[in-house]
């Protein structure tokens, strides 16, 4: 550390350590601009490839699928056997039933948990001791559950619902397992939706003498509804596309499941086959790739519709928030 005075250091434009000549600077900048061009070209390519992969996968499945999809394909049941004959009617019905039953189980529980975490746990965060502990345990539980791979839910559902509780391969076993899978999704989206509800809403209602639950029920929940519904629709998508869980809990029967309205008990204990499962059986166990593509096309269209619904809902959510701000 040579101790020169600050003055001399500052006032020395002449003995600069590093002086690029004009042309050096220009040459280096030209090089940097070229590097940038190339790098950005690669980034554009990455974005383009993502879109192209999507178009390729969706386009391929839709085009191939379109060749087998007709009214009969949609309205007759699979004939079974190794050639994959028949249509896919029963798998559409089974998918709808399973989605309905799973959401029926998961939505109230998930929304309830979300409400608790946002509306009630907040007031406890200040209080130390076991209650604060409880909240962090719950949060850990939700976060961890969200990371559990679906085959583990399947394994668990198989052990608990299929064998231990003796439901067998059935709608109820599959729906309970599926509910565990989507529970964290619903909890999280509910929490997010509730957090966007402005504070004055609650205070206004509480100030009028409403209890906390009355406030939640009449004021907070309606305001958060689009967000909560988004979470539910998201879960519908998860169940429609899920295969591993149902592969080990739903059996694979391609017969029409009993009507949940007329024969509720039979319905709960009947096995079934969702569209995704049907696709898997067709592709893996038979050589009926054309039928698999047909099923895949219906599946992909459902998923696109579900995504559109989610986009529409979150768009509306944003709009209503901006409208109130």
């Amino acid at each position: 550390m040579n101790e020169e005075s600050e003055e001399t250091m500052v006032n020395t434009t002449q003995d600069v350590a590093w002086q690029q000549t004009q042309s050096e600077a220009e040459a280096h900048l030209a090089k940097r601009r070229l590097t940038e061009k190339i790098a950005f070209g690669v980034l554009w390519a990455a974005g383009a490839v993502a879109v192209l992969v999507l178009i390729a996968v969706v386009g391929y499945v839709l085009l191939e699928g379109a060749q087998v999809i007709d009214w009969a394909f949609l309205t007759t049941r699979p004939k079974g056997g190794l050639s994959g004959e028949g249509g896919m009617s029963t798998t559409i019905v089974a998918t709808i039933y399973l989605v309905g039953l799973t959401i029926l189980i998961a939505a109230p529980l998930g929304v309830g948990a979300g409400i608790y975490l946002v509306e009630y746990a907040g007031e406890m965060q200040g209080t130390s001791g076991w209650q604060a502990h409880l909240i962090s345990v719950i949060r850990f539980g939700v976060e961890t559950l969200a990371g559990v791979p679906s085959i583990i839910f399947g394994l668990f559902g198989y052990a608990l619902f299929v064998t231990t509780m003796k439901f067998g391969f059935s709608m109820i076993a599959a729906a309970l397992s599926g509910a565990c899978l989507v529970l964290p999704v619903i909890i999280r989206t509910t929490e997010e939706a509730l957090l966007t509800v402005p504070r004055p809403y609650r205070e206004g209602s509480l100030a009028l003498g409403a209890t906390q639950w009355q406030t939640n029920w009449r004021v907070v929940l309606p305001a958060a509804m689009p967000g909560i519904i988004t979470g539910v629709v998201l879960s519908v998508g998860r169940i429609v596309s899920e295969t591993a869980v149902f592969y080990v809990t739903l059996g694979g029967s391609y017969y029409m499941p009993p009507s949940p309205i007329l024969h509720f008990r039979d319905f709960l204990t009947s096995g079934g086959r969702t569209m995704a499962l049907h696709l898997y059986y067709l592709a893996n166990d038979t050589a009926a790739f054309d039928k698999a593509m047909g099923t895949g096309a219906v599946l992909v269209v459902s998923i696109i519709l579900i995504n559109l619904a989610i986009n529409y809902l979150s768009h509306r959510l944003n709009q209503s928030m901006r409208g109130e701000a």
Partner: protein, 257 residues
């Protein structure tokens, strides 16, 4: 403005954020190796004007401009913006060191400009930190994160970082507003030293500060109908003792703003 060389010049310069006009027909000349202060009430376009000189406003979507800005006679909008920014450095209102070591902060500029030589980088680091009056406080710990310094030290680090690329001009947007009085005085002292080698343009809200550090002062103004108008530009002494516009006098004597 006789006697001193002109570094930067704006001619009938307008700037729009979308449809909103934030600078209205500004023409002035910034003399070289002097400190020019820009003052005016909040929202009158001081920062916008300052950021025009290194085209920082290019980063904001929807900005467009009219008129001309030139540096040493060359239109800055015809220059490569990267080359321009190398010659026109900037110190921001809030100290914004990168989350890197002090050494990496100071040598960032030279390195992006292609300097790899370790010895030279060391030399530049020391020179710049000395120039920013920070060397003695950090010389034993150049590997420490820039974020671990105090606010005043962070701001001097940012000044050192700007000096390290050896610019011609340094733009400072309220460089002391986030600092305590002692740190502020150090920065002011530094600004007076730096003008030997650099042309400095500084935005400030603090009249005393403008009076203490600057040679020239531009007074910007906004009213109901227009934003970003230049009311008066002159010697700092003249502006503070004998302004020619009533609005300038009102502002300086604290009658509004």
């Amino acid at each position: 403005m006789t006697g001193s060389e002109i570094k930067l010049e704006t001619q009938n310069f307008d700037l729009y954020y979308g449809n909103f006009q934030a600078l209205d027909d500004i023409s002035l000349q910034i003399p070289a190796n002097q400190v020019t202060a820009i003052i005016g009430p909040s929202g009158c376009g001081k920062s916008t004007f300052l950021r025009a000189f290194n085209r920082m406003n290019d980063l904001i979507p929807g900005v467009h401009t009219d008129g001309e800005i030139s540096m040493e006679g060359e239109n800055i909008f015809n220059m490569d913006v990267v080359a321009l920014r190398r010659r026109v450095g900037m110190v921001f209102q809030r100290p914004n060191p990168f989350p890197k070591s002090i050494y990496d902060n100071v040598t960032y500029g030279p390195r992006v400009n292609g300097l790899r030589d370790r010895d030279k980088l060391d030399e530049i680091a020391e020179r710049s930190l000395r120039g920013a009056a920070l060397w003695d406080e950090v010389k034993d710990d150049l590997g420490k994160s820039g974020l671990a310094l105090s606010g005043g030290q962070q701001q001097r680090l940012c000044i050192a970082r700007a000096l390290a690329v050896e610019p011609d001009v340094i733009l400072m947007d309220e460089p002391a507003s986030a600092l305590d009085p002692i740190a502020t005085l150090r920065i002011e002292e530094l600004i007076r030293e730096l003008k030997e080698d650099y042309t400095i343009v500084i935005v400030t809200h603090n009249m005393q500060q403008a009076g203490r550090v600057s040679d020239y002062t531009a007074f910007f103004y906004t009213d109901e109908s227009r934003t970003g108008i230049l009311v008066e530009f002159d010697n700092t002494k003249k502006i503070f003792t004998n302004p020619s516009d009533q609005r300038t006098e009102d502002y300086i004597t604290g009658r509004f703003g």
